[in-house]
């Protein structure tokens, strides 16, 4: 009844190629963006920002990155944690080495550095495929984390081996460091993620994106129709790692404030982001957001429900949380292997007809 495209005619090539061809979708997105930019900052507090919104945004960014590589280009990667770490450490080094430069530039550079590292570790993908490649990216994971432990240059020779973010301003507003207001941190991250998502959405609709998908679906066939696998795969690695790098920089500088390689960027992070894109939907930008939201919110809700609601001990609750999370993952894989994004699609299909049967 409300979601009908009747009467919406596409009269130009431009409108035919729009990201959202249906007016309701455009309005829906605009309303969400208006709420995210205009309403949420006024109601945000420390807990909301640090426990829910910032993790959600940061992980959404990382999930977009991994989705480009795994969902669109079909290259399974378990090195996301390490690529986040590269972004974090690159931003840390840049921020401490060039304090006068804006951190926006630092973050973009951190992304670029991560992209270079990603290309380096993506080289084996030309010869190795599938799970064999996954293990090759595990090498990146372990090696990079080890490097950040062992080489003191990366953490500026401080005694703790940790990196902690210096306070920095953007346009006169404090963004990083413990004194930054949650609203500023949130808006800063949100801007990055929205711009990033928009770019990614357009990229996967472009020639590059189509060649990624061709490689994913069958790389030999793609090669035969004239897609250069070397170039395509490496571009996927570079773009994916750029997003992961920016996400890592945001994660370290805006969300966590301090980080240690073993904890913040362990292999668990790689799996977490992989879960996000699988549950959200492989090969879908929207899915990256849905998956990130799901995996950020679910542990919090579970914990609150069990510890506060049912009076479980914290330790038991942790174990139950593990079980429930495992079950949910399996449940989702069985019920909808194409993820939440697909569910959303089905809902939209149904909405077009509702409340009529045909």
């Amino acid at each position: 009844m409300f979601y009908r495209e009747v009467g919406q005619f596409k009269t130009s090539y431009q409108s035919d190629q729009a990201i959202f061809t249906i007016a309701q979708d455009r309005w829906f997105l605009l309303v969400i963006l208006a709420i995210a930019f205009g309403v949420v900052p006024f109601f945000i507090n420390d807990y909301f920002a640090n426990a829910i919104l910032l993790p959600f945004l940061v992980y959404a960014m990382a999930a977009i990155g991994l989705n480009i590589l795994t969902g669109y280009c079909g290259q399974l990667s378990l090195g996301t944690g390490a690529f986040l770490a590269v972004g974090a450490y690159a931003s840390y080094k840049l921020m401490t080495a060039f304090p006068e430069v804006s951190i926006i530039i630092h973050f973009l550079l951190a992304g670029a550095i991560t992209a270079c590292v990603g290309v380096l570790f993506g080289l084996p993908s030309l010869r190795i495929k599938g799970f064999y490649l996954a293990v090759a990216t595990l090498f990146a994971q372990f090696f990079i984390i080890w490097l950040f432990y062992k080489v003191p240059w990366f953490f500026n020779y401080n005694a703790t081996g940790q990196i902690s973010v210096p306070p920095r301003e953007v346009f006169g507003v404090l963004i990083t460091g413990p004194k930054a207001s949650p609203a500023a941190a949130y808006l800063f991250t949100l801007t990055f993620v929205v711009v990033g998502a928009l770019l990614a959405k357009n990229m996967v609709r472009s020639k590059t994106g189509r060649s990624w998908m061709a490689i994913r679906d069958m790389d030999i066939a793609a090669e035969i129709i004239g897609i250069n696998p070397l170039k395509t795969k490496l571009i996927a690695f570079a773009v994916s790692c750029f997003y992961c790098g920016v996400a890592g920089a945001l994660m370290f500088a805006v969300w966590l404030g301090a980080a240690e390689p073993g904890e913040a960027f362990s292999i668990d992070q790689s799996f977490l982001v992989l879960f996000m894109i699988i549950i959200g939907g492989l090969g879908s930008i929207l899915g990256s957001f849905l998956g990130a939201a799901f995996m950020t919110l679910m542990p919090i809700l579970l914990k609150q429900g069990m510890v506060d609601g049912m009076g479980f001990a914290v330790g038991t609750a942790k174990h139950v949380e593990f079980i429930v999370m495992g079950c949910l993952i399996i449940f989702f894989l069985i019920v909808e292997p194409h993820g939440l994004a697909r569910l959303w699609q089905i809902v939209k299909e149904k909405l077009r007809l509702w409340p009529f049967p045909h």
């Binding site: 010869r127 495929k129 799970f131 090759a136 879960f275 699988i278 399996i330 292997p337």
Partner: protein, 305 residues
């Protein structure tokens, strides 16, 4: 000359201990290979299976006062029931899905088993003692000053027996032939009347038992604790090196990784700051892959458009 002898003996000691450590890796890797061969599932839960089996074994011994042999039988029964449940609740519903989906489902399974094991048997570090010998092999140590851990020798012997038993099982029995048929071609196997489900239950049970052996060995060495589940990560490079589909590959890969790791730790480690065992095995595997993308003994990857 003496110095040279000393060096040579040291080297030998390193190699032997590397080989024995490699056997431990192989034990985990065999479980992977079994499941991958029969169902094409890359079972990430293998490490957690080992942890779960170890926890169950200790739990049965401690909480019910069972003697080791009875507890082992009990654990085997638990692992078989578990295999049945996994097939019933997960695999059955995921037939024909993509590899990555199946892989993710085993990750979910790993979470469930981890939480379940902790809730059932407690999450503290447990000492596993089922009467396996430990310490140095006396005559070697006394006469030659050569340190070889008895436990690791036992592990090597058990692994050998296991491989022989598995080989006989696969080559000589009816079920083994059915297993190989399924591994070869799911549909063809189905069409000549082999029950895929029964085969999957059997395979998961067998790899559950292999996991039990691995859990017992690793548990006797360093106690049953959460970190046991991480041996899956140790077994991955072994698999890569040997190829996902080959049991001999798992053994040889394990030995190569074991020795390579120990040698690298001693001869390379000091120059780069140590603690390289986390990634060295992966690097070794990666270098191998560059030359043989399907691993040492893996089936040749043939691609068609």
């Amino acid at each position: 000359m003496d110095l040279f002898l000393f060096e040579a003996r040291n080297l030998l000691e390193v190699i032997v201990s590397g080989l024995l450590a490699g056997v431990m890796y192989s034990l985990v890797a065999i479980g992977f290979v079994l499941i991958f061969k029969a169902s094409g599932v890359f079972n990430f839960a293998q490490g957690v299976l080992a942890l779960f089996a170890g926890l169950t074994l200790v739990g049965l011994m401690e909480n019910f006062g069972l003697p080791p042999w009875l507890a082992i039988i009990g654990t085997i029964i638990v692992m078989i029931v578990l295999a049945y449940l996994i097939e019933l609740l997960i695999l059955r519903h995921l037939v024909n899905q993509e590899h990555i989906i199946l892989f993710m489902s085993t990750l979910g399974l790993a979470y469930v088993l981890e939480g379940l094991g902790d809730i059932l048997w407690g999450s503290d570090v447990k000492v596993l003692d089922i009467g396996l010998p430990s310490g140095a092999v006396d005559w070697l140590f006394v006469d030659y000053g050569f340190y070889v851990d008895k436990l690791e020798v036992v592990a090597a012997v058990i692994a050998t027996i296991l491989v022989v038993v598995l080989a006989v099982f696969f080559q000589r029995t009816r079920i083994g032939r059915a297993l190989r048929a399924v591994a070869d071609d799911h549909q063809a196997a189905l069409s000549i009347g082999i029950s895929l489900r029964a085969i999957w239950i059997i395979v998961w049970s067998v790899s559950g038992i292999v996991a039990l052996v691995a859990g017992v060995m690793w548990g006797s060495k360093s106690g049953i604790q959460f970190s046991l589940s991480l041996i899956a990560l140790k077994a991955l490079p072994v698999l890569i090196l040997g190829g996902f589909t080959s049991i001999p590959g798992a053994i040889v890969g394990g030995l190569i990784i074991g020795v390579g790791e120990k040698l690298a730790e001693i001869y390379v480690g000091p120059f780069v700051g140590g603690a390289i065992e986390n990634w060295f095995a992966y690097m070794l595997a990666l270098v191998f892959l560059m030359f043989r993308p399907q691993g040492l003994f893996g089936d040749k990857i043939i691609e068609r458009v």
